[in-house]
Assembly symmetry: C2
Homo-oligomer: 280 residues x 2
Protein backbone atom coordinates (compact mmCIF):
# COMPACT_ATOMS: atom_id res chain seq x y z
CA UNK A 1 0.00 0.00 0.00
CA UNK A 2 1.22 3.45 -0.90
CA UNK A 3 0.10 6.30 1.37
CA UNK A 4 -1.13 9.17 -0.82
CA UNK A 5 -2.10 11.64 1.91
CA UNK A 6 -2.70 11.88 5.63
CA UNK A 7 -4.91 14.65 7.00
CA UNK A 8 -6.00 15.32 10.55
CA UNK A 9 -9.76 15.68 10.93
CA UNK A 10 -11.79 15.90 14.14
CA UNK A 11 -8.89 14.53 16.16
CA UNK A 12 -8.57 11.47 13.91
CA UNK A 13 -6.81 10.86 10.64
CA UNK A 14 -8.05 10.66 7.09
CA UNK A 15 -5.67 8.64 4.95
CA UNK A 16 -5.76 7.83 1.27
CA UNK A 17 -3.94 4.82 -0.14
CA UNK A 18 -3.20 3.26 -3.47
CA UNK A 19 -2.67 -0.49 -3.66
CA UNK A 20 -2.52 -3.21 -6.26
CA UNK A 21 -5.80 -5.09 -6.29
CA UNK A 22 -5.95 -8.76 -7.21
CA UNK A 23 -9.71 -8.56 -7.80
CA UNK A 24 -9.56 -5.86 -10.43
CA UNK A 25 -6.02 -6.61 -11.62
CA UNK A 26 -4.78 -3.05 -11.20
CA UNK A 27 -4.22 -0.18 -8.82
CA UNK A 28 -7.12 0.90 -6.65
CA UNK A 29 -7.42 3.93 -4.38
CA UNK A 30 -9.35 4.10 -1.14
CA UNK A 31 -9.76 6.49 1.78
CA UNK A 32 -9.99 5.51 5.43
CA UNK A 33 -11.03 7.73 8.31
CA UNK A 34 -9.60 6.53 11.61
CA UNK A 35 -11.29 8.18 14.59
CA UNK A 36 -9.23 9.29 17.62
CA UNK A 37 -10.19 6.09 19.46
CA UNK A 38 -8.16 4.07 16.93
CA UNK A 39 -4.95 5.33 18.56
CA UNK A 40 -5.61 3.13 21.58
CA UNK A 41 -8.06 0.43 20.51
CA UNK A 42 -9.46 -1.42 17.51
CA UNK A 43 -12.58 0.22 16.11
CA UNK A 44 -15.42 -1.14 13.93
CA UNK A 45 -15.65 -0.14 10.27
CA UNK A 46 -18.38 1.32 8.09
CA UNK A 47 -17.85 0.78 4.36
CA UNK A 48 -19.25 3.54 2.17
CA UNK A 49 -19.98 2.91 -1.51
CA UNK A 50 -20.32 6.02 -3.67
CA UNK A 51 -22.48 6.58 -6.72
CA UNK A 52 -22.23 7.37 -10.41
CA UNK A 53 -19.34 9.63 -11.46
CA UNK A 54 -17.78 9.48 -7.98
CA UNK A 55 -14.42 8.37 -6.64
CA UNK A 56 -13.23 7.69 -3.10
CA UNK A 57 -13.17 11.46 -2.52
CA UNK A 58 -16.79 12.63 -2.80
CA UNK A 59 -17.91 11.25 0.53
CA UNK A 60 -14.83 12.35 2.46
CA UNK A 61 -15.11 15.93 1.20
CA UNK A 62 -18.86 16.50 1.19
CA UNK A 63 -20.70 14.23 3.63
CA UNK A 64 -19.60 15.93 6.85
CA UNK A 65 -19.43 12.50 8.49
CA UNK A 66 -16.23 12.64 10.48
CA UNK A 67 -17.52 14.72 13.39
CA UNK A 68 -19.99 11.99 14.32
CA UNK A 69 -17.58 9.17 13.41
CA UNK A 70 -15.02 10.67 15.80
CA UNK A 71 -17.64 10.89 18.51
CA UNK A 72 -18.77 7.28 17.99
CA UNK A 73 -15.34 5.76 17.44
CA UNK A 74 -16.20 4.47 13.99
CA UNK A 75 -13.76 4.02 11.10
CA UNK A 76 -15.11 4.75 7.61
CA UNK A 77 -13.64 3.18 4.47
CA UNK A 78 -14.44 4.67 1.05
CA UNK A 79 -13.32 2.67 -1.98
CA UNK A 80 -13.18 4.07 -5.49
CA UNK A 81 -16.24 3.20 -7.60
CA UNK A 82 -14.61 1.48 -10.58
CA UNK A 83 -11.33 -0.02 -11.72
CA UNK A 84 -9.04 2.52 -13.37
CA UNK A 85 -6.20 2.32 -15.83
CA UNK A 86 -7.86 0.34 -18.62
CA UNK A 87 -9.23 1.74 -21.87
CA UNK A 88 -11.98 -0.58 -23.11
CA UNK A 89 -14.40 0.41 -25.86
CA UNK A 90 -17.07 2.73 -24.35
CA UNK A 91 -15.41 2.58 -20.92
CA UNK A 92 -15.02 6.34 -20.55
CA UNK A 93 -17.82 7.70 -22.76
CA UNK A 94 -20.68 7.64 -20.25
CA UNK A 95 -21.27 8.98 -16.78
CA UNK A 96 -23.38 5.90 -16.01
CA UNK A 97 -21.17 3.07 -17.26
CA UNK A 98 -17.57 1.87 -17.14
CA UNK A 99 -15.20 4.19 -15.32
CA UNK A 100 -18.22 6.34 -14.40
CA UNK A 101 -20.04 3.44 -12.78
CA UNK A 102 -18.68 0.04 -11.74
CA UNK A 103 -21.99 -0.90 -10.14
CA UNK A 104 -20.35 -3.22 -7.60
CA UNK A 105 -20.94 -6.36 -9.68
CA UNK A 106 -18.58 -9.02 -11.05
CA UNK A 107 -18.69 -8.55 -14.81
CA UNK A 108 -18.96 -11.64 -17.00
CA UNK A 109 -18.84 -9.97 -20.43
CA UNK A 110 -15.57 -9.35 -22.24
CA UNK A 111 -13.63 -7.13 -21.84
CA UNK A 112 -15.12 -5.97 -18.52
CA UNK A 113 -14.88 -9.49 -17.14
CA UNK A 114 -11.11 -9.06 -17.11
CA UNK A 115 -11.09 -6.37 -14.43
CA UNK A 116 -14.54 -5.17 -13.37
CA UNK A 117 -14.89 -7.28 -10.25
CA UNK A 118 -15.95 -4.49 -7.93
CA UNK A 119 -18.20 -6.81 -5.92
CA UNK A 120 -15.33 -9.11 -5.02
CA UNK A 121 -13.19 -6.08 -4.31
CA UNK A 122 -15.52 -4.41 -1.83
CA UNK A 123 -16.84 -7.59 -0.19
CA UNK A 124 -13.68 -9.67 0.06
CA UNK A 125 -10.40 -8.02 -0.86
CA UNK A 126 -10.84 -4.60 0.70
CA UNK A 127 -12.12 -5.77 4.12
CA UNK A 128 -9.25 -8.26 4.27
CA UNK A 129 -6.78 -5.51 3.46
CA UNK A 130 -8.31 -3.14 6.00
CA UNK A 131 -8.48 -5.73 8.77
CA UNK A 132 -4.89 -6.79 8.15
CA UNK A 133 -3.36 -3.33 8.09
CA UNK A 134 -5.36 -1.00 10.36
CA UNK A 135 -6.44 -0.90 14.02
CA UNK A 136 -9.94 -2.19 13.34
CA UNK A 137 -12.14 -5.01 14.57
CA UNK A 138 -13.79 -7.57 12.29
CA UNK A 139 -17.18 -5.89 12.85
CA UNK A 140 -18.37 -4.27 9.62
CA UNK A 141 -21.34 -2.31 8.39
CA UNK A 142 -22.08 -0.98 4.94
CA UNK A 143 -23.84 2.00 3.42
CA UNK A 144 -23.80 4.04 0.25
CA UNK A 145 -25.48 6.44 -2.12
CA UNK A 146 -27.45 5.83 -5.32
CA UNK A 147 -25.54 3.16 -7.29
CA UNK A 148 -23.50 2.69 -4.09
CA UNK A 149 -26.63 2.52 -1.98
CA UNK A 150 -27.73 -0.40 -4.12
CA UNK A 151 -24.23 -1.82 -3.83
CA UNK A 152 -24.52 -1.72 -0.05
CA UNK A 153 -27.89 -3.49 -0.17
CA UNK A 154 -26.68 -6.35 -2.37
CA UNK A 155 -23.42 -6.78 -0.45
CA UNK A 156 -25.44 -7.18 2.74
CA UNK A 157 -28.23 -9.33 1.26
CA UNK A 158 -25.81 -11.71 -0.48
CA UNK A 159 -23.60 -12.18 2.58
CA UNK A 160 -25.64 -12.95 5.72
CA UNK A 161 -23.52 -12.53 8.81
CA UNK A 162 -20.80 -10.50 7.11
CA UNK A 163 -22.20 -7.08 8.09
CA UNK A 164 -23.78 -5.95 11.35
CA UNK A 165 -26.02 -3.39 9.64
CA UNK A 166 -26.83 -1.85 6.28
CA UNK A 167 -28.25 1.47 5.17
CA UNK A 168 -28.56 3.50 1.99
CA UNK A 169 -29.26 6.97 0.66
CA UNK A 170 -31.41 7.16 -2.47
CA UNK A 171 -30.42 3.67 -3.68
CA UNK A 172 -31.21 2.31 -7.15
CA UNK A 173 -33.27 -0.44 -5.57
CA UNK A 174 -34.36 -2.35 -8.66
CA UNK A 175 -31.64 -1.99 -11.31
CA UNK A 176 -33.03 -4.69 -13.61
CA UNK A 177 -36.07 -2.43 -14.10
CA UNK A 178 -34.47 1.02 -14.62
CA UNK A 179 -32.36 2.55 -17.41
CA UNK A 180 -29.16 2.96 -15.36
CA UNK A 181 -29.22 -0.66 -14.24
CA UNK A 182 -30.29 -2.09 -17.60
CA UNK A 183 -27.45 -0.29 -19.37
CA UNK A 184 -24.86 -1.40 -16.81
CA UNK A 185 -26.05 -4.99 -16.57
CA UNK A 186 -26.20 -5.38 -20.35
CA UNK A 187 -22.60 -4.21 -20.59
CA UNK A 188 -21.26 -6.16 -17.63
CA UNK A 189 -23.48 -9.27 -17.60
CA UNK A 190 -24.84 -9.60 -21.13
CA UNK A 191 -28.34 -9.92 -22.56
CA UNK A 192 -29.47 -12.90 -20.47
CA UNK A 193 -31.69 -11.20 -17.95
CA UNK A 194 -31.84 -14.23 -15.69
CA UNK A 195 -28.20 -13.53 -14.88
CA UNK A 196 -29.10 -10.03 -13.75
CA UNK A 197 -31.37 -11.01 -10.90
CA UNK A 198 -28.68 -12.00 -8.43
CA UNK A 199 -27.43 -8.37 -8.61
CA UNK A 200 -30.83 -6.79 -7.97
CA UNK A 201 -31.73 -5.94 -4.37
CA UNK A 202 -35.47 -6.07 -4.96
CA UNK A 203 -35.18 -9.52 -6.56
CA UNK A 204 -32.92 -10.71 -3.74
CA UNK A 205 -35.50 -9.64 -1.17
CA UNK A 206 -38.37 -11.27 -3.08
CA UNK A 207 -36.54 -14.54 -3.45
CA UNK A 208 -34.74 -14.61 -0.18
CA UNK A 209 -35.21 -17.76 1.86
CA UNK A 210 -32.76 -17.04 4.67
CA UNK A 211 -33.53 -17.44 8.34
CA UNK A 212 -35.42 -14.52 9.88
CA UNK A 213 -32.57 -14.15 12.38
CA UNK A 214 -30.16 -13.43 9.53
CA UNK A 215 -32.26 -10.68 8.03
CA UNK A 216 -30.55 -7.32 8.47
CA UNK A 217 -33.17 -4.57 8.67
CA UNK A 218 -32.87 -2.12 5.78
CA UNK A 219 -32.54 1.56 6.75
CA UNK A 220 -33.05 3.88 3.79
CA UNK A 221 -33.43 7.64 3.33
CA UNK A 222 -34.90 8.93 0.08
CA UNK A 223 -35.39 12.57 -0.87
CA UNK A 224 -38.78 13.35 -2.32
CA UNK A 225 -37.37 16.09 -4.57
CA UNK A 226 -34.78 13.71 -6.05
CA UNK A 227 -34.69 14.15 -9.85
CA UNK A 228 -34.04 10.44 -10.32
CA UNK A 229 -36.77 9.16 -8.03
CA UNK A 230 -39.39 8.06 -10.55
CA UNK A 231 -37.33 6.82 -13.47
CA UNK A 232 -34.29 5.30 -11.76
CA UNK A 233 -34.62 4.78 -8.02
CA UNK A 234 -38.11 3.29 -7.56
CA UNK A 235 -38.06 2.77 -3.79
CA UNK A 236 -41.67 1.59 -3.91
CA UNK A 237 -40.49 -1.61 -5.67
CA UNK A 238 -38.23 -2.52 -2.76
CA UNK A 239 -40.88 -1.54 -0.26
CA UNK A 240 -43.42 -3.82 -1.97
CA UNK A 241 -40.95 -6.72 -2.06
CA UNK A 242 -40.21 -6.29 1.64
CA UNK A 243 -43.90 -6.19 2.44
CA UNK A 244 -44.51 -9.32 0.38
CA UNK A 245 -41.98 -11.45 2.25
CA UNK A 246 -42.09 -9.67 5.60
CA UNK A 247 -38.59 -8.28 5.35
CA UNK A 248 -37.88 -5.48 7.86
CA UNK A 249 -37.39 -2.09 6.21
CA UNK A 250 -37.42 1.53 7.34
CA UNK A 251 -37.82 3.72 4.27
CA UNK A 252 -37.94 7.41 5.14
CA UNK A 253 -39.16 9.79 2.47
CA UNK A 254 -37.63 13.18 3.20
CA UNK A 255 -39.68 16.07 1.79
CA UNK A 256 -37.78 18.62 -0.27
CA UNK A 257 -34.43 16.83 -0.40
CA UNK A 258 -32.68 16.09 -3.68
CA UNK A 259 -30.04 13.54 -4.77
CA UNK A 260 -27.00 15.57 -3.68
CA UNK A 261 -24.49 15.30 -0.87
CA UNK A 262 -26.38 18.14 0.86
CA UNK A 263 -29.10 15.53 1.38
CA UNK A 264 -26.60 12.94 2.59
CA UNK A 265 -24.95 15.39 4.99
CA UNK A 266 -28.35 16.25 6.48
CA UNK A 267 -28.98 12.67 7.61
CA UNK A 268 -25.56 10.99 7.79
CA UNK A 269 -25.38 11.37 11.57
CA UNK A 270 -28.48 9.22 12.01
CA UNK A 271 -27.04 6.56 9.72
CA UNK A 272 -23.76 6.55 11.63
CA UNK A 273 -25.66 6.14 14.90
CA UNK A 274 -27.68 3.29 13.39
CA UNK A 275 -24.49 1.50 12.40
CA UNK A 276 -22.67 2.27 15.63
CA UNK A 277 -25.52 0.78 17.62
CA UNK A 278 -25.35 -2.41 15.57
CA UNK A 279 -21.57 -2.58 15.76
CA UNK A 280 -21.22 -2.20 19.51
CA UNK B 1 -30.83 38.40 -8.98
CA UNK B 2 -31.01 35.14 -10.88
CA UNK B 3 -31.54 32.01 -8.79
CA UNK B 4 -29.03 29.37 -9.94
CA UNK B 5 -29.99 26.55 -7.57
CA UNK B 6 -31.98 25.83 -4.45
CA UNK B 7 -31.09 22.82 -2.31
CA UNK B 8 -32.57 21.67 0.97
CA UNK B 9 -29.99 21.10 3.68
CA UNK B 10 -30.56 20.40 7.38
CA UNK B 11 -34.11 21.65 7.12
CA UNK B 12 -33.03 24.99 5.62
CA UNK B 13 -32.23 26.05 2.10
CA UNK B 14 -28.95 26.62 0.30
CA UNK B 15 -29.45 28.99 -2.61
CA UNK B 16 -26.98 30.23 -5.20
CA UNK B 17 -27.57 33.46 -7.08
CA UNK B 18 -26.00 35.46 -9.86
CA UNK B 19 -26.44 39.23 -9.89
CA UNK B 20 -24.96 42.25 -11.61
CA UNK B 21 -22.56 43.95 -9.25
CA UNK B 22 -21.99 47.70 -9.40
CA UNK B 23 -18.76 47.38 -7.39
CA UNK B 24 -17.03 45.01 -9.78
CA UNK B 25 -18.96 46.07 -12.89
CA UNK B 26 -20.02 42.55 -13.83
CA UNK B 27 -21.88 39.45 -12.75
CA UNK B 28 -21.08 37.98 -9.36
CA UNK B 29 -22.20 34.69 -7.85
CA UNK B 30 -22.87 34.05 -4.19
CA UNK B 31 -24.37 31.30 -2.04
CA UNK B 32 -26.62 31.85 0.96
CA UNK B 33 -27.65 29.25 3.52
CA UNK B 34 -30.94 30.11 5.17
CA UNK B 35 -31.57 28.05 8.32
CA UNK B 36 -35.05 26.69 9.08
CA UNK B 37 -35.70 29.59 11.46
CA UNK B 38 -35.63 32.00 8.48
CA UNK B 39 -39.05 30.70 7.44
CA UNK B 40 -40.66 32.47 10.37
CA UNK B 41 -38.23 35.19 11.53
CA UNK B 42 -35.29 37.31 10.43
CA UNK B 43 -31.96 35.71 11.25
CA UNK B 44 -28.44 37.19 11.64
CA UNK B 45 -25.80 36.62 8.96
CA UNK B 46 -22.26 35.30 8.94
CA UNK B 47 -20.23 36.32 5.89
CA UNK B 48 -17.61 33.76 4.86
CA UNK B 49 -14.67 34.79 2.67
CA UNK B 50 -12.86 31.94 0.92
CA UNK B 51 -9.21 31.65 0.01
CA UNK B 52 -6.93 31.30 -3.01
CA UNK B 53 -8.33 29.31 -5.98
CA UNK B 54 -11.79 29.15 -4.36
CA UNK B 55 -15.25 30.23 -5.46
CA UNK B 56 -18.50 30.54 -3.52
CA UNK B 57 -18.77 26.73 -3.58
CA UNK B 58 -15.82 25.44 -1.56
CA UNK B 59 -17.21 26.36 1.84
CA UNK B 60 -20.74 25.19 1.13
CA UNK B 61 -19.55 21.78 -0.06
CA UNK B 62 -16.69 21.05 2.32
CA UNK B 63 -17.01 22.91 5.62
CA UNK B 64 -19.88 20.89 7.09
CA UNK B 65 -21.24 24.11 8.61
CA UNK B 66 -24.95 23.88 7.96
CA UNK B 67 -25.80 21.42 10.73
CA UNK B 68 -24.69 23.90 13.37
CA UNK B 69 -26.01 26.92 11.44
CA UNK B 70 -29.44 25.26 11.36
CA UNK B 71 -29.23 24.61 15.08
CA UNK B 72 -28.19 28.20 15.85
CA UNK B 73 -30.50 29.93 13.38
CA UNK B 74 -27.63 31.57 11.52
CA UNK B 75 -27.59 32.47 7.83
CA UNK B 76 -24.25 32.11 6.03
CA UNK B 77 -23.36 34.10 2.92
CA UNK B 78 -20.44 32.99 0.73
CA UNK B 79 -19.37 35.39 -2.04
CA UNK B 80 -17.12 34.42 -4.90
CA UNK B 81 -13.47 35.39 -4.36
CA UNK B 82 -12.82 37.52 -7.46
CA UNK B 83 -14.59 39.29 -10.27
CA UNK B 84 -15.12 37.07 -13.32
CA UNK B 85 -15.64 37.70 -16.98
CA UNK B 86 -12.64 39.90 -17.75
CA UNK B 87 -9.44 38.84 -19.42
CA UNK B 88 -6.65 41.15 -18.27
CA UNK B 89 -2.98 40.38 -18.85
CA UNK B 90 -1.87 37.77 -16.26
CA UNK B 91 -5.37 37.60 -14.76
CA UNK B 92 -5.76 33.84 -15.19
CA UNK B 93 -2.14 32.61 -15.16
CA UNK B 94 -1.62 32.26 -11.40
CA UNK B 95 -3.41 30.47 -8.59
CA UNK B 96 -2.47 33.34 -6.27
CA UNK B 97 -3.43 36.41 -8.31
CA UNK B 98 -6.27 37.76 -10.44
CA UNK B 99 -9.14 35.36 -10.92
CA UNK B 100 -7.41 32.98 -8.49
CA UNK B 101 -7.21 35.57 -5.75
CA UNK B 102 -9.05 38.88 -5.47
CA UNK B 103 -7.64 39.49 -1.98
CA UNK B 104 -10.65 41.58 -0.90
CA UNK B 105 -8.98 44.90 -1.69
CA UNK B 106 -9.97 47.80 -3.93
CA UNK B 107 -7.41 47.77 -6.73
CA UNK B 108 -5.89 51.07 -7.82
CA UNK B 109 -3.66 49.83 -10.63
CA UNK B 110 -4.92 49.60 -14.20
CA UNK B 111 -6.52 47.42 -15.46
CA UNK B 112 -7.53 45.82 -12.16
CA UNK B 113 -8.77 49.15 -10.85
CA UNK B 114 -11.62 48.90 -13.35
CA UNK B 115 -13.28 45.91 -11.70
CA UNK B 116 -11.32 44.43 -8.77
CA UNK B 117 -13.20 46.15 -5.97
CA UNK B 118 -13.81 43.07 -3.88
CA UNK B 119 -13.54 45.03 -0.63
CA UNK B 120 -16.39 47.34 -1.57
CA UNK B 121 -18.32 44.35 -2.82
CA UNK B 122 -18.13 42.29 0.37
CA UNK B 123 -18.36 45.19 2.85
CA UNK B 124 -21.00 47.37 1.20
CA UNK B 125 -22.78 46.00 -1.82
CA UNK B 126 -23.32 42.39 -0.80
CA UNK B 127 -24.67 43.09 2.73
CA UNK B 128 -27.04 45.69 1.25
CA UNK B 129 -28.23 43.16 -1.32
CA UNK B 130 -28.66 40.44 1.31
CA UNK B 131 -30.46 42.67 3.80
CA UNK B 132 -32.80 43.97 1.11
CA UNK B 133 -33.76 40.61 -0.35
CA UNK B 134 -33.64 37.95 2.36
CA UNK B 135 -35.23 37.37 5.77
CA UNK B 136 -32.20 38.55 7.75
CA UNK B 137 -31.50 41.10 10.44
CA UNK B 138 -28.86 43.83 10.16
CA UNK B 139 -26.61 41.94 12.57
CA UNK B 140 -23.53 40.68 10.76
CA UNK B 141 -20.39 38.74 11.55
CA UNK B 142 -17.51 37.79 9.30
CA UNK B 143 -15.05 34.92 8.98
CA UNK B 144 -12.91 33.29 6.34
CA UNK B 145 -9.98 31.10 5.40
CA UNK B 146 -6.42 32.00 4.40
CA UNK B 147 -6.68 34.96 1.98
CA UNK B 148 -10.33 35.14 3.07
CA UNK B 149 -9.38 34.92 6.73
CA UNK B 150 -7.27 38.01 6.21
CA UNK B 151 -10.15 39.55 4.28
CA UNK B 152 -12.41 38.99 7.28
CA UNK B 153 -9.87 40.61 9.61
CA UNK B 154 -9.45 43.77 7.52
CA UNK B 155 -13.20 44.11 6.87
CA UNK B 156 -13.80 44.04 10.62
CA UNK B 157 -10.82 46.22 11.59
CA UNK B 158 -11.60 48.89 9.00
CA UNK B 159 -15.30 49.10 9.89
CA UNK B 160 -15.86 49.40 13.65
CA UNK B 161 -19.48 48.71 14.50
CA UNK B 162 -20.30 47.01 11.22
CA UNK B 163 -19.75 43.46 12.46
CA UNK B 164 -20.64 41.89 15.77
CA UNK B 165 -17.73 39.45 15.68
CA UNK B 166 -14.85 38.28 13.52
CA UNK B 167 -12.89 35.04 13.24
CA UNK B 168 -10.49 33.39 10.84
CA UNK B 169 -8.95 30.07 9.89
CA UNK B 170 -5.26 30.16 8.95
CA UNK B 171 -5.35 33.81 7.83
CA UNK B 172 -2.54 35.52 5.91
CA UNK B 173 -2.15 37.97 8.78
CA UNK B 174 0.61 40.19 7.42
CA UNK B 175 0.32 40.26 3.61
CA UNK B 176 2.77 43.14 3.13
CA UNK B 177 5.46 40.81 4.48
CA UNK B 178 4.75 37.54 2.64
CA UNK B 179 5.06 36.45 -1.01
CA UNK B 180 1.32 35.93 -1.63
CA UNK B 181 0.48 39.38 -0.33
CA UNK B 182 3.42 41.17 -1.96
CA UNK B 183 2.54 39.72 -5.35
CA UNK B 184 -1.13 40.63 -5.02
CA UNK B 185 -0.55 44.12 -3.61
CA UNK B 186 2.02 44.94 -6.30
CA UNK B 187 -0.47 43.97 -8.98
CA UNK B 188 -3.52 45.61 -7.43
CA UNK B 189 -2.00 48.59 -5.56
CA UNK B 190 1.33 49.28 -7.28
CA UNK B 191 4.87 49.61 -6.00
CA UNK B 192 4.21 52.27 -3.35
CA UNK B 193 4.31 50.18 -0.21
CA UNK B 194 2.80 52.91 1.93
CA UNK B 195 -0.45 52.28 0.06
CA UNK B 196 -0.33 48.62 1.08
CA UNK B 197 -0.56 49.18 4.81
CA UNK B 198 -4.23 49.98 4.99
CA UNK B 199 -4.91 46.47 3.61
CA UNK B 200 -2.70 44.66 6.13
CA UNK B 201 -4.35 43.35 9.31
CA UNK B 202 -1.15 43.39 11.34
CA UNK B 203 -0.46 47.01 10.37
CA UNK B 204 -4.07 47.97 11.11
CA UNK B 205 -3.76 46.48 14.60
CA UNK B 206 -0.42 48.19 15.26
CA UNK B 207 -1.72 51.56 14.17
CA UNK B 208 -5.23 51.32 15.43
CA UNK B 209 -6.36 54.17 17.60
CA UNK B 210 -10.03 53.24 17.98
CA UNK B 211 -11.86 53.16 21.28
CA UNK B 212 -11.32 50.02 23.33
CA UNK B 213 -15.08 49.49 23.30
CA UNK B 214 -15.00 49.20 19.52
CA UNK B 215 -12.29 46.56 19.46
CA UNK B 216 -13.73 43.26 18.26
CA UNK B 217 -11.78 40.39 19.81
CA UNK B 218 -10.00 38.31 17.16
CA UNK B 219 -10.70 34.56 17.23
CA UNK B 220 -8.28 32.59 15.07
CA UNK B 221 -7.53 28.91 14.54
CA UNK B 222 -4.24 27.95 12.93
CA UNK B 223 -3.11 24.42 12.11
CA UNK B 224 0.46 23.67 13.18
CA UNK B 225 1.00 21.28 10.25
CA UNK B 226 -0.08 23.94 7.73
CA UNK B 227 2.35 23.95 4.79
CA UNK B 228 2.03 27.72 4.45
CA UNK B 229 2.51 28.59 8.10
CA UNK B 230 6.09 29.85 8.08
CA UNK B 231 6.41 31.54 4.70
CA UNK B 232 2.93 32.98 4.15
CA UNK B 233 0.70 33.02 7.22
CA UNK B 234 2.97 34.29 10.04
CA UNK B 235 0.42 34.36 12.87
CA UNK B 236 3.16 35.39 15.28
CA UNK B 237 3.29 38.81 13.59
CA UNK B 238 -0.36 39.48 14.37
CA UNK B 239 0.03 38.10 17.85
CA UNK B 240 2.95 40.44 18.52
CA UNK B 241 1.03 43.44 17.17
CA UNK B 242 -1.93 42.61 19.39
CA UNK B 243 0.32 42.27 22.41
CA UNK B 244 2.00 45.59 21.63
CA UNK B 245 -1.23 47.57 21.61
CA UNK B 246 -3.27 45.42 23.98
CA UNK B 247 -5.69 44.23 21.33
CA UNK B 248 -7.74 41.18 22.41
CA UNK B 249 -6.86 38.03 20.45
CA UNK B 250 -7.44 34.31 20.89
CA UNK B 251 -5.03 32.48 18.59
CA UNK B 252 -5.34 28.71 18.89
CA UNK B 253 -2.55 26.62 17.41
CA UNK B 254 -4.05 23.23 16.54
CA UNK B 255 -1.45 20.44 16.50
CA UNK B 256 -1.43 18.24 13.42
CA UNK B 257 -3.94 20.19 11.33
CA UNK B 258 -3.13 21.40 7.83
CA UNK B 259 -4.51 24.17 5.58
CA UNK B 260 -7.41 22.16 4.15
CA UNK B 261 -11.15 22.20 4.63
CA UNK B 262 -10.74 19.11 6.82
CA UNK B 263 -9.15 21.52 9.31
CA UNK B 264 -11.94 24.06 8.88
CA UNK B 265 -14.64 21.41 9.28
CA UNK B 266 -13.03 20.22 12.51
CA UNK B 267 -13.45 23.62 14.20
CA UNK B 268 -16.21 25.40 12.30
CA UNK B 269 -18.83 24.59 14.94
CA UNK B 270 -16.88 26.53 17.56
CA UNK B 271 -16.59 29.51 15.23
CA UNK B 272 -20.30 29.45 14.50
CA UNK B 273 -21.04 29.37 18.22
CA UNK B 274 -18.65 32.28 18.76
CA UNK B 275 -20.49 34.33 16.15
CA UNK B 276 -23.94 33.26 17.25
CA UNK B 277 -23.17 34.38 20.80
CA UNK B 278 -22.09 37.79 19.54
CA UNK B 279 -25.07 38.12 17.22
CA UNK B 280 -27.78 37.32 19.75
Amino acid sequence: MELLSSTKSFGGWLKRYKHESLSVKGDMTFAIYLPPQAETQNVPVLYWLSGLTCTDENFIQKAGAFRKAAELGLAIVCPDTSPRGTDYPNEHESYDFGSGAGFYVNATMEPYSNTYHMYDYVVQELPHLIETNFPVTDKRSISGHSMGGHGALICALKNPGKYQSVSAFAPIVNPTKCPWGQKAFTGYLGEDKDAWNEWDATYLIESQVGKASERLPLFIDQGEADNFLVEQLKPEALEAACEKVGYPITLRRQPGYDHSYFFIASFIDEHLEHHSNALS
